[in-house]
Amino acid sequence: MIEFAISSLKRRFWKYLAVFFIYTLLIWLTSSIFLISLSLKKELFLTVEELPEIIVQKTLAGRLIPIEIDRVEKIEEIVGVEAAYPRVWGYYYFAPARVNFSVVGLEEIGYTKTLNNFLALNEFEGNVMVVGEGVKRILNNYYYKEFFNFITPSGEFVQVKLKGTFPTTSALESSDTILLPLPLARKIFQLPSHLATDIVVKVPNPKEVPLISQKIKTLFPDSRVISKEDIKASYQNLFDYKQGVFLAVMLGAFLAFFILAFERISAIGQEEMKEIGILKALGWQIRDILKLKFLEALLVVGNAFFIGIVLSYGYVFWFQAPLLRNLFSGFSVLKPTVEFLPVWDWGVFITLFLVTVPLYLFAVIIPSWRASVVDPEEILR
């Protein structure tokens, strides 16, 4: 039966070629988008995984303001908290290039493992800074090769030596980052020494996080407490939303395609009619012909699906998805140079399969049925 279906397809090669081609293209496009989004999500989650469990910020009239450092000790007294650190960080607007750098002040201990490893290897004191690759690029464009002049809020210049760029596993997190020693960061932001931007809290047991968050909230009612899980959930939401919007847009294309497929298969030529007539005269039943038609459809759509997926894998992870990547990473000047990390997720392929293959089969039901119920006698005459 399969051989028969294949030979039947071969005979009508040109008829199915357009359907096959467009379908492969559609699947390739959809699956590329899914893969890019999945890969970015993986990368972000890698970053999030390294974050501290809880971040405590202070709000005033709903806006974030610096938080008092003496709160650190009170938070550390809560049972279950391993440690809490004040952080000094913020954005520095570099007017000539119209970009924001993330400026992070560091003490001897960083907040993430990559930073810690980096700090352990390098001396990091005095008027020095270490920058991400994106920052380095921009500074070079403006001829800041050896040093950079920060302008403080009161208008003074602070000259800082550029010590190098830092390596990271994930490019998203740090392309726009400048690392400075803590005192220097305070100086640039003119942040008094009893204040910090926020406080990070380390909690070894993840099950205690909700309770500890609650306790901090009760201790300091003016604070905003963000846990790692919150961040993850909101990322997941964001990416689902992006994929969902995209899929909704793609639906139009799919619909158009199904109408095309419907038309193509409905247009049964004289030759094909004759063939079906002969088959029926030979004793084939309606059911057998339907089976044949479905087998043909399955062959077309199955191969298109397979090839589409393979192509999109090559496109995203081999060629790093030219053009499409802009859709997700945006057009910012400091756009990180992301390497898409290969991912494999059964869920996504099942999702893709379900959105493409069954709908195609539905589209061919009525034409196939129409073809199968023709009267053999009428045709052969």
């Binding site: 059911r287 379900l354 959105v355």
Partner: protein
């Protein structure tokens, strides 16, 4: 909720509904006018249309089964987003439509399966003896499918990302009087006993088809209760964890998919032999049903035995 999974579920169920609606009109015509002894053009037309409907139902059915699993998978995934939910159980109970929706989904698959059985038998008879019957039956099924779609729309529409829901640890906690599933709260040992008892009754009455079918339903009920109350803690190796959904997660090697496949297949075959005898006047053997029931029983029994073997104690 605009996650791709939800979108796809709605699209596919929508497509199925659309085609079933087409078939529904045919079904009404057939129920009214079908008469094998006539040779009017209408009769020929209806005979052809009946093939179309059977293809549509075949396709819908073979799609509905993966979609059910996909539905549960979607819920599992949504549990990352919905605060408090740790698996599908939390998501499905987060609003009042969830449990009904799942029940109707499972029921519809049984009904579709039975329809296909009737369809097969109908094609075997030369004079289309059961055509009228199977289309009456289809009209009945169609109502459920419409109901399912409406429930699904309502469910996803009222799914609230900011509302905190309970996790399965709370929902299936025997000590608390949780509102849902209170019906399921039999004593653990008792539920396991009833489960094995119903299985032996099945074995014993395997020749009496009607009784066998009826007992199959009881077996299904006790299987689910004992799975929640008795077996799942052994599978999770945690005496407080009673949840029929976490079984489907990676941590337990997706054993749930295996278990539910055996259970639903076995009980479906059990129900279908009764259905065949009553409506289609055909006697069928009950051993295929018993085979899958036993496979389910073996897998599920393996866990407590293995636990006892490794730890030397029982949980209850």
């Amino acid at each position: 909720m605009l996650s791709p999974e939800v979108l796809i579920l709605l699209i596919l169920d929508g497509a199925i509904l659309l085609f079933l609606t087409l078939s529904f009109f045919t079904a009404v015509l057939i129920v009214r006018y079908f008469d094998f002894s006539k040779d009017t053009p209408l009769q020929y037309y209806l005979e052809r249309r009946s093939y179309l409907v059977s293809v549509i139902l075949h396709l819908s059915f073979s799609l509905k089964i993966p979609l059910l699993f996909y539905f549960v998978y979607t819920l599992d995934k949504l549990s990352n987003v919905i605060p408090g939910a740790m698996c599908a159980a939390g998501v499905i109970t987060s609003n009042s439509y969830g449990v009904a929706l799942l029940a109707v989904k499972v029921l519809n698959i049984y009904l579709f399966g039975l329809w296909l059985v009737a369809n097969r038998e109908d094609f075997f008879t030369k004079e289309y003896r059961f055509t009228k019957f199977k289309f009456k039956f289809f009209i009945f099924i169609y109502l459920f499918v419409v109901g399912e779609f409406i429930l699904e729309l309502l469910f996803f529409k009222s799914l609230d990302v900011s509302k905190v829901v309970s996790c399965c640890g709370v929902l299936f906690d025997a000590t608390k009087n949780s509102t849902l599933f209170s019906f399921f709260l039999l004593d653990s040992k008792l539920s396991a006993g009833l489960f094995y008892l119903s299985f032996f009754l099945l074995l014993f009455f395997r020749k009496k088809i009607y009784l066998f079918s009826l007992l199959t339903l009881i077996f299904l009920l006790f299987s689910l209760i004992s799975l929640i109350q008795f077996f799942s803690p052994y599978i999770y190796q945690l005496p407080t964890h009673h949840c029929p959904f976490c079984l489907l997660q990676k941590e337990y090697f997706y054993v749930g998919y295996l278990l539910y496949t055996f259970l639903f297949l076995g009980t479906f075959l059990g129900v279908s032999v009764g259905f065949k005898k009553f409506f289609l006047t055909k006697e069928d053997k009950s051993w295929p049903s018993l085979l899958f029931d036993s496979l389910y029983l073996l897998v599920v029994t393996f866990y407590p035995v293995w636990y006892l073997f490794k730890n030397g104690v029982t949980l209850f």
